[in-house]
């Protein structure tokens, strides 16, 4: 996942690399997603996630477009 200072730099990067634009989130959105995704990563009980659990995390983070389908 790539960091950019503005939409303009994202468009430029996509053009230069001949790649389609993916999904762009604000840093605040990604921080909220990070807390849901990583909060228990250091726990002994964390054994990975089911498809249903990943779907629920994306839903909680407001990521419901086709891009986030599993």
């Amino acid at each position: 996942m790539l960091l950019f200072r503005s939409e303009e730099w994202i468009d430029k990067w996509c053009q230069l690399n001949n790649l389609a634009r993916g999904e762009v989130l604000t840093i605040h959105q990604v921080w909220e997603l990070s807390k849901l995704w990583y909060h228990n990563r250091l726990s002994l009980e964390y054994h990975g996630r089911s498809v249903e659990q990943v779907t629920e995390i994306f839903k909680q983070a407001g990521l419901t477009s086709k891009f986030w389908y599993i």
Binding site: M1, R5, W9, E23, T26, I27, Y38, R41, F58, F67
Partner: protein, 148 residues
């Protein structure tokens, strides 16, 4: 293969990253659990196959245990008095989320190469202007994790 030990090895690798900023060698893991290096290597390979962490190709060296990176990157995260490297723009936020800590982050804009700084203070981000681009849809993230 002992399933309980498998998850203990995963936990040890992550704890080692959190404590030292780098992954344990397979020899260190073997010594910690009092098992042979060969057996520890089998656990490493199994955890790699389950996408729990990523080994460098043809080695038993942990390259990524998301959000932690085993090699230097453009995403430097200072937290709990230590400096970690994150794998990507998402993972630079994943480190304070995993550690449940504040953080001071130094990173680089992918295209302009300008340095950017942000902080996590009491759960709040100080720089709200930045954007993160996810080039691939989720269904393709594990096709090539290094590219992702």
């Amino acid at each position: 293969m002992n399933d309980s030990l498998l998850w203990q090895v995963r936990h040890f690798v992550y704890s080692h990253f959190a404590d030292t900023t780098h992954p344990p060698s397979v020899e260190e893991t073997a010594a910690h659990f009092n098992i042979s290096t060969e057996e520890a290597g089998e656990y490493y390979k199994e955890l790699h196959n389950r996408h729990t962490f990523l080994l460098e190709p043809e080695t038993l060296t942990v390259r990524m245990a998301n959000p932690f990176s085993g090699i230097p990157t453009d995403f430097k995260v200072h937290a709990n008095g230590k400096t970690y490297f994150a794998n990507c723009a998402w993972d630079m936020l994943g480190i304070p989320a995993a550690l449940h800590s504040d953080a001071a982050i130094k990173a680089v804009c992918t295209e302009s190469n300008e340095s950017v700084q942000l902080e996590i203070n009491n759960g709040q981000i100080t720089n709200n202007q930045l954007l993160i681009h996810f080039p691939l849809p989720f269904a393709r993230w594990y096709d090539d994790l290094t590219f992702t």
